[in-house]
Amino acid sequence: MDLDMNVNAPHSMGTTIIGVTYNGGVVLGADSRTSTGMYVANRASDKITQLTDNVNVCRSGSAADSQIVSDYVRYFLHQHTIQLGQPATVKVAANLIRLLSYNNKNMLQTGLIVGGWDKYEGGKIYGIPLGGTLIEQPFAIGGSGSSYLYGFFDQAWKEGMTKEEAEQLVVKAVSLAIARDGASGGVVRTVVINSDGVTRNFYPGDKLQLWHDELEPQHSLLDILNAPSPEPMNI
């Protein structure tokens, strides 16, 4: 068994990230696990990062690379907003991410999902995988945990969902990925962006629905052993 923990392994956000559009805006979702090799360096990370008041980005892959890219884009967007005199559009934010990802493709290892709302196009999701392809999608999934969600989304995704339906879909999906991907875990964070603004939500690991082969959590085995015997059946 490999006892060498390799603390010098790059901090990677194994991750499950999701972005979904609905009739009025977008919902972004992510897990909260950051790992160094097999060790969970942070069990409550925040992988959904603000770029502007109306645009956020979900980060996956190398923690360092995704942080530095989002830092640069936040900086450029800030200047752009001042020069433009109004909020930046989601498309501009996504394209700035694309430029950095594409022009540094040999060095970067990060997949990003940009989501936001602007007055021209409404809610929009852009996926920017490794290599720097820009792709506008009604929904996007990314990170190692997304492998387990392709079938799920093929079946469960519907056009024109409400805000509540979209958020429930995202929470369910991240939770399903956490159940099967060792590199994803912790809590589910969501960010809802629409014309009214930005709302952040937090779903702790123990509040999520139980899936196949999972059991109701207990405080201790002692509680189970000391539980009273069930009543005998009365015919």
Partner: protein, 245 residues
């Protein structure tokens, strides 16, 4: 007449040509096993996960099994190799019973047997890819030992495999003492298993705790642990430094 094509026997003397049976890397693996000595015997805990690389593929794998009357074996690493070891031990116990002489193999003997098996396989560059924990009680004597895939073996008051060595042993060094009660032993193991659940990527939230005393082996039903996520720092960690984690 012989219709079957000739096949290399398993432990052939032909050397390198017959190493089609080597385990070069593990496929389905179990993570940490943690065990400690307490007042009446040994307590051992292991989760029920069988990972396939980074996929949490199987969630009901029993990684602790009773051996004979006096021992309990817990394993981490390749599950198929663990199953093979159980077959070897089955044969060992069978032959021991066939003597019908009133004597039975105790945990110390089983541990020694396992050590020889693991070390000899290592010498042939064909290891059984496991870290084993062997605990038991015989004639009032408590025994707790461990063997690794390269044959490193020792006994102690508390042992662990894999990540358990890094995360659980420090807790045990601090809080273990002689003559722990059953309740305290269980709580201590659960404390270790909860930390492993938070910090080991391959951990799964379903575990069993096994007890072995002079009277025999009991393995608990599978159950899950409650986890805590309500620290205020967890709610909005990036508030003070946007773009960080």
């Amino acid at each position: 007449m012989n219709f079957m094509a000739s096949k290399q026997p398993e432990n052939s003397l032909l050397g390198p040509e017959s190493d089609s049976q080597r385990t070069l890397y593990p496929y389905v693996t179990g993570t940490s096993v943690v065990a400690l000595k307490y007042k009446d015997g040994i307590l051992m805990a292991a989760d029920m996960g069988g990972s396939y690389g980074s996929t949490l593929r199987y969630k009901s794998v029993e990684r602790m099994k009773p051996i004979g009357k006096h021992s309990l074996l817990g394993a981490s690493g390749e599950i198929s190799d663990f199953q093979e070891i159980l077959r070897y031990l089955d044969e060992l116990i069978l032959y021991d019973n066939m003597w019908d002489d009133g004597n039975s193999l105790g945990p110390k003997e089983v541990h020694n047997y396992l050590t020889r098996v693991m070390y000899n396989r290592r010498n042939k560059f064909n290891p059984l890819w496991n870290s084993l924990v062997l605990g038991g009680v015989k004639n009032g004597q408590k025994y707790l030992g461990t063997v690794s895939m390269i044959g490193v073996n020792f006994e102690d008051n508390h042992v662990a495999t894999g990540f358990g060595n890094h995360l659980a042993r420090p807790i045990l060094r601090q809080e273990w003492h002689e003559n722990l009660s059953f309740e305290d032993g269980v709580r201590l193991l659960e404390k270790c298993m909860r930390v492993l659940l938070y910090r080991d990527r391959s951990a799964v939230n379903k575990l069993q705790i096994a007890k072995i005393t002079e009277d025999g082996v009991t393995i608990s039903q599978p159950y899950s642990l409650k986890t805590y996520w309500e620290f205020s720092a967890f709610e909005n960690p990036a508030q003070g430094a946007i773009g960080s984690w």
